[in-house]
Symmetry: D2
Subunit: 350 residues, 4 copies
């Protein structure tokens, strides 16, 4: 009945949760707590996250999924007449079925390079609005949305983030960072942005659980706890308040126990490098060298069928008349055995 | 750290999930599946639910929580210029933080008696609109929302449901039933409405998981599978699409294995009767005799402190100058031992 | 082709505009100005209104119609998770086709007596929210909406308005007054609320033009000019920004030249009294004694046909099995000749 | 007080209305009619428009302004999970302050060439959605928005419109044409698209009044009268229903009496050619040769000050480091005298 026998590299949310989480869920199953996140598990998890962020005053709230979190936070930060600046390939601009517009806001998209915006682009956009004589007839850019790592698995450097942060400060718009895959950034050798950096540079960010070892769950961190009044009610209004909030508390309590979250992405990032090497050895060019757990490669169309026999992948986009960009994603749950078999299969591609 | 030592009767979502569910989640944890509910667990669970509803063609979709489900279904069923008829104490009218209005729709509330609307009330409301010369300036009633059991734990009889169904057919508005606590209705000796009845009388209804043995999850049943085109995208737009949809599939697969769902509320309903007897014996009048797992009683204000030492309860509303309506809720997880201790404590109330 | 020959008392917007307005529109027709209300006519009109309100700092903005104005102002004043307190018969609750909900907000309706809310009702509603343990799951009352005169033509006294103002201050929610028919309040001998009073008691109010002598137009007055940042853009976003904004400026410039607005309702109010006398003489009871331009009477159903031959009226609601509440409305454009003929016709009712 | 003395070429809505309209408004001012467009003037105007469109069955509704009309029509045509395809410079994408997103919909913008989209672009966009494996997570393109003439004053040819129409039919999405400046298209010698063509190729379009001789007003034409059920209520909900709807009826009755609308743009288009010649003679290059009433030219930055002394213009965008695109707009109200003086002033630019 279950889909166990294929090598699945289509996405990084194809298994359940880290064993520590499952164990704790079992142990605590019959404990009685209040609902809606007002329980001891959540309190403990929030404390651990505040510590990990070096932010003892931060407000931390747990939501269930990424689209929900983005819509809730963005609606909470924007005035009704404001929009959110995003990379054109940003999750909120492409793959959230219009959740941001459902909340009444325009996504002001800018062309990104492999998922990243530059401080200059953001600044130019904000300045263009500020200096446009017709700006009162236009959507005001009210915040900036980035993802770390990006939808393409690329990383903002600390320097890049600081520049964007400075631009945001200058134009007085908040900076929000989507960390759906944050553990894979934190585990990357190329990464120089810590959780503490994020907490000091972003006005709001979220620490992804769903793709990073949890069954589900995203932890929203608001370093300045007064930033969003009545956030609880906003969450409720968005249908994003989990009745048994403890489930989120338990999961994040485990993810941030003994620094698990900082290392849960290690193997996935390492395996992605292995797969990238295998692709190159097989003569299949990468779209770019990825520093995290997503591998993008330019596949000759005639090889797609063969590859699809070896493993599930994700289709990204046509590259040209005869090539297609495909993606393999590894995760904390990916085994080296499966990776090696994938690499072998790639090696055998004629 | 956890809140184990009190007798908690404040709500019916204070523990984790039924052991069968936890066991299955553990067993399947490392199975790889596709995301978003396109997996074998979900397929199996949907089949079981279709069978239980006697509705082999029904569309079944799994969402995470009740407010989310209500908002998503109601937004999907209504045209932008329509509103939803609801009891004034309906969950959507009072305790969803305006989620229905967030989606652009008015809740057209009617005064309910212990949570229930009558077919006459619904018909009068629909007829008043139809015959109002200014109706084109008004919100059109576009659907009817009921809950079974209601927010007060009361039950619609089959005859009552049929009458409301007939009114809805006559005025061509869909009928939607919120079954957040449906297992406690199905378990009640007073109940004469089966899942099959619901499937033949409601245009859409949901089978509650969160309060009925699951960690979370609600199963939306649409007997006519063509009723809501693109429901998947509507769910996504509402931030209500769980990435690891299999978690919902696994839970409902267990809830509908061997008729578990039909009996999971048995003990809770029985315990509620026991508590009601204890209250009456203690000279504390009930607001009404409840047929399901929620007990509402009219507590003299001077006894509230004493009761609050015995157990957690929910505050409902002031009854008069000197009395307050309080609620005890039992659940599938409530033990007879705790109930007995509560009854003893009530007995000792001076 | 036009509908000239009946005595039309169905509403107070059945003719064009006061002759002074038409004359000025003609004279200025070929003057070139900037669009969107940034012109000399608007500047002059705003100055006159500020003076009439004793409010030299007030922000004044012109919109086209009442529903539009209510939706724009209410959306501007409320946070997304807030609702607006209104009489159940309030225009926003009944006859705006869900425009407030379209903007995402719940109308929190309270039962009104002939259109009026009491300070106690408003205070109880605000206190009930403030003291509800579940309030974070509920829509927060974020402002109070009144109309002066009300939808039933009744008037808030200065004392009543002060009490409601004080309640609003205490709970820190803004008070908004819909003045669609304000000229008929100002002209009423029973009225003791001046424009200056409104400007000191309401956080926002609008001075109705459409029903009070203009072709169209409502003047929103915001005594504290910093209250609603970016109101221009909010107006634009609501499709409520008139390209040739000067048309609104010209009209209000005339309405507030030589105190025209303060007297334009005089005859209408006087005629309403005359009609009320005629009804009483004909043995037809009034619903109540109306102080302004709307007359509500309890018509025996067998006389409706006869009355409908005499004049157009508005249907309000069934009174009982054999009576119906009907309305006659006079306006600044109603002639005494027509009123006398209506009174004669009423006299002849058997 | 009024701004009469400059040569104003900043926009085409700087004066009042065509004298025929003003005369009729005066003559009919004290006629009593029902409100909300249910009057003889509107009926007559609708008949004239139906005839002019060769569309005897069409539904015609009058709204007040362009942004309002676009938002109302687009919200009426789209399902909540759909977006509207538009040129990136489309009015709805840039200058409506997010009115479309306020209604919950994404504007799916495509890069335009001088305001125009090609059938290929539209088809590629629709096909890309249809063939995307993730389309259920994306905003569905639910309609196509064009403007004729475009925001740059350019024109779709009949052939181009037919091709776009065919693409829309193939993908079953409605085509909506914004005719804010339609009279200037109809008057252009280069135009080969008649009103009858529009009525046969567009599913909905509007005939602009505000910029084409009226005080205000846009006439929405829906050739298939069953396309948008309850459009009246949708208009009301958008705050777009004018109480004295007759004002719109009177204006369009005049605009479509004796083919006035077909010729009211003649002089403006002719004057635009004159101004374009003058600019070229002065050595100032045009951005492109405009066929209608808007003239776009590439002004060396050092000449801007001099030009601004000669006349009001609209700023469009930076062209390069040393040039700026400016716009002159003529209208039905522009006099040849003013045009000649502008041309003289341009001639004298050093």
């Amino acid at each position: 009945m279950a889909d166990t026998e294929k090598f699945m590299f289509a996405s990084d949310y194809q298994e359940g949760a880290h064993p520590n989480i499952m164990k704790r869920l079992m142990e605590t199953n019959m404990v009685s707590t209040d609902g809606y996140g007002v329980d001891g598990f959540c309190a403990s998890a929030k404390d651990r996250i505040r510590k990990a962020c070096g932010c003892p005053e931060a407000e931390v709230e747990f939501l269930v999924g990424g689209t929900q979190t983005n819509a809730t936070v963005i609606d909470a930060l924007l005035k009704p007449y404001q929009g959110v600046i995003s990379a054109d390939c940003g999750h909120i601009n492409v793959h959230e079925a219009g959740a941001i517009e459902f909340g009444g806001h325009k996504v002001l998209s800018l062309p990104a390079e492999f998922g990243k915006l530059s401080a200059k682009q953001v600044g130019d956009c904000l300045e263009a609005y500020a200096s446009d004589g017709n700006r009162d007839h236009m959507v005001m850019p009210g915040m900036v949305y980035l993802s770390q790592p990006t939808e393409y698995g690329t990383l903002y450097s600390l320097e890049e983030l600081k520049q964007i942060h400075n631009i945001c400060r200058y134009y007085r718009v908040p900076l929000y960072v989507d960390g759906a895959r944050l553990s894979y950034a934190l585990a990357s050798p190329e990464n120089d942005v810590t959780l503490e950096d994020l907490a000091s540079l972003a006005d709001v960010f979220y620490i992804g659980g769903t793709k990073c070892g949890a069954l589900f769950g995203e932890a929203v961190v608001i370093p300045d706890p007064g930033l969003i009044p009545h956030f609880f009610t906003i969450i409720k209004q968005h249908g994003a308040l989990l009745a048994k909030g403890r489930l989120l508390g338990i999961q994040f309590d485990e993810l941030f126990r003994d620094d698990l979250y900082f290392h849960i992405g290690d193997s996935a990032d390492r395996f992605a490098l292995k797969i990238q090497d295998a692709l190159k050895n097989a003569g299949i060019p990468l779209l770019f060298e990825s520093p995290t757990n997503q591998v993008f490669f330019i596949c000759p169309d005639e090889k797609i069928e063969e590859i699809s026999k070896a493993a599930e992948y994700a289709f990204m986009e046509k590259y040209d008349e005869r090539h297609t960009v495909l993606r393999f994603a590894t995760s904390w749950a990916t085994t080296e055995e499966k990776v090696d078999k994938l690499c072998e299969a790639l090696q055998e591609l004629s």
